[in-house]
């Protein structure tokens, strides 16, 4: 336990516009996001001595953080890294930044992401380029035409088979995200949609339709983490990081389905529809000392509708197999039991990766969400997921 005051908090956030950002590039977006977070916190740039980026799809570098650190003029850092856990890099980064600050290694750590996957990649070639980038195993799955929507579709198909989950239940998640995006002037997709609209949208890979999939979108984000002591002297309201947790498993569907390598007594806990997120959740809730029902608002990683549905179960909001029913009836909309993705999520706010979920989670605690603010939000849950729902990171944020 860190001594009082040395506890790490989120002291600044930065979020440039999202959408089709013609004429920019990933490096510029990183710098824009960083400057917004630095200005939001009101911190002297020279006090930043830790930096993490997550690499980029375009203009990547093996030491991507060095490119960005040099552009920012962050001369000598005592901790740096380029995170490589995909969409879940950002809560991974929050946890590592927390350790760096609380151990005394760093005074202030900047966590950044930015990419132009929409405007920077010729239309129709993005998915192939993503696969070629090595985002999925090349030798035993890609030759069979597997795609990112395809693997999540196979999870959805299995969930439907095991538990009777319906396309309408998946659609309810897309509808909730869009409803919230319609209240967010910054969101990429803002026109409200209905369950019928989702069902009528073109099939991508059975059973997932176009509106079950998050759109490819340009975007960026920045988070500044420092000690509570230091943050209290800065401009923005500190946001506490009450609990964090992580769990990572595998790429290959076969090994996820069989929980290959798990202790024999643990094998029955995991399957294609039951990820290791439950382990990360137990850790995060345990450290925060709160229960799922205590949470006021949740930003759940939503690459696809099924990604969210499975999390209701893994996070403990409902029993195994009941994620579909949980999504229905407005329960996950503003005013409901667990309002999710109040900025619109990846499904409608846009961007990519999980940093914007964290920014919205912090904003809810700061009470700055305008029409979409959850009244008196005290506890904010945020998740990041990547790589076939195999990499998970979770944080629970709260007030100073």
């Amino acid at each position: 336990m860190p001594h009082p005051g040395s506890e790490a908090v989120i002291a600044g956030i930065g979020e440039p516009p999202v959408g089709r950002l013609v004429g920019t590039n990933p490096t510029e977006l990183h710098i824009e996001a960083a400057m917004l977070a630095i200005e939001d916190a009101g911190i002297d740039k020279h006090d930043i001595d830790g930096l993490m980026t997550s690499g980029t799809f375009l203009n990547d570098n093996i030491r991507h953080h060095m490119i960005i650190g040099e552009h920012l003029g962050l001369h000598c850092k005592t901790f740096c890294d380029t995170l490589r856990t995909g969409g879940q890099s950002y809560l991974n980064g929050v946890q590592v930044a927390k350790w760096a600050v609380e151990s005394g290694l760093c005074k202030a750590v900047l966590l950044l992401r930015g990419d132009t996957t929409l405007s920077g990649v010729p239309k129709g070639t993005g998915l192939k380029a993503y696969i070629d980038y090595g985002a999925h195993p090349l030798e035993f799955e890609v030759p069979f035409g597997i795609t990112v929507p395809g693997v999540y579709a196979m999870m959805a198909q299995r969930h439907m088979h095991e538990f009777g989950t319906t396309s309408e239940q998946l659609a309810a998640i897309a509808v909730a995200c869009r409803k919230h995006a319609s209240m967010n002037p910054k969101a990429f997709k803002r026109d409200p949609i209905t369950i019928d609209d989702v069902i009528a949208s073109p099939m991508v890979s059975t059973p997932l339709r176009l509106l079950d999939c998050s759109p490819i979108c340009d975007g960026a984000g920045a988070i500044l983490i420092t000690s509570l002591e230091r943050a209290r002297d800065l401009k923005a309201k500190p946001v506490r990081i009450l609990g964090t947790g992580q769990a990572q498993s595998y790429y290959h569907l076969a090994h996820l389905a069989r929980a290959t390598g798990a202790r024999p007594e643990d094998k029955s806990r995991y399957s294609l529809t039951r990820s290791v997120q439950s382990v990360a959740a137990k850790e995060a809730f345990g450290r925060a000392g709160v229960k799922p029902s205590d949470i006021d608002v949740a930003q759940l990683y939503d690459s696809f509708t099924i990604t969210v549905l499975m999390q209701f179960e893994a996070l403990g909001y409902c029993a195994e197999g009941e994620g579909g029913a949980f999504a229905e009836g407005g329960r996950i909309e503003l005013g409901g039991e667990l309002p999710i993705n109040t900025n619109g999520g990846l499904l409608s706010f846009g961007s990519s990766g999980g940093i914007n979920h964290i920014i919205e989670a912090a904003r809810q605690i700061r009470g700055e969400c305008g029409d979409r603010q959850v009244p008196d939000a005290q506890l904010s849950l945020v998740t990041n997921v990547s790589a076939v729902a195999s990499n998970h990171s979770i944080a629970i944020l709260g007030r100073d």
């Binding site: 030798e139 035409g145 579709a153 196979m154 198909q157 569907l253």
Partner: protein, 129 residues
């Protein structure tokens, strides 16, 4: 565009050779008896180094599948990507060759077939049994 084809490695060469011979083999752990797929250096269950290449029966069931609305490469008939559970217990991603994907369901039996996709590579595929 054509399929992205695998580049066999030291550990996977015997697997791809067996597919080319249309007599697919996967590894079985001589210590714990578990069949492993994809090819591995040690048994992922018990860490034994004693792995032997064993032929499979070619019988399996569909664990899950998806029918892609479009394929990124040219293909005869619909692209069905499936996770197949082999009779031996191991699972693998493959394609189901069928003109009527609407008739497929999870749990239904499939049998191994092969498709030569290049001079070097023959892919193991499945068809409804």
């Amino acid at each position: 565009m054509s399929r992205s084809l695998p580049t066999p490695s030291k550990i996977s060469q015997p697997f791809w050779d067996s597919c080319k011979a249309e007599h697919m083999q996967i590894q079985r752990c001589e210590d714990c008896g578990v069949y492993a797929f994809y090819p591995v250096y040690i048994c992922p269950e018990c860490a034994s180094r004693k792995l032997a290449w064993m032929p499979v029966s070619g019988k399996g069931t569909i664990h899950t599948f998806t029918v892609a609305a479009k394929s990124s490469f040219e293909i005869q008939g619909p692209l069905v990507v499936a996770l197949v559970e082999l009779e031996e217990g191991a699972m693998m991603v493959s394609n189901i060759k069928t003109a009527t994907p609407e008739a497929l369901s999870i749990g239904s039996p499939v049998r191994l077939t092969y498709e030569e996709v290049s001079d070097e590579i023959t892919l193991p595929m499945f068809e409804p049994a």
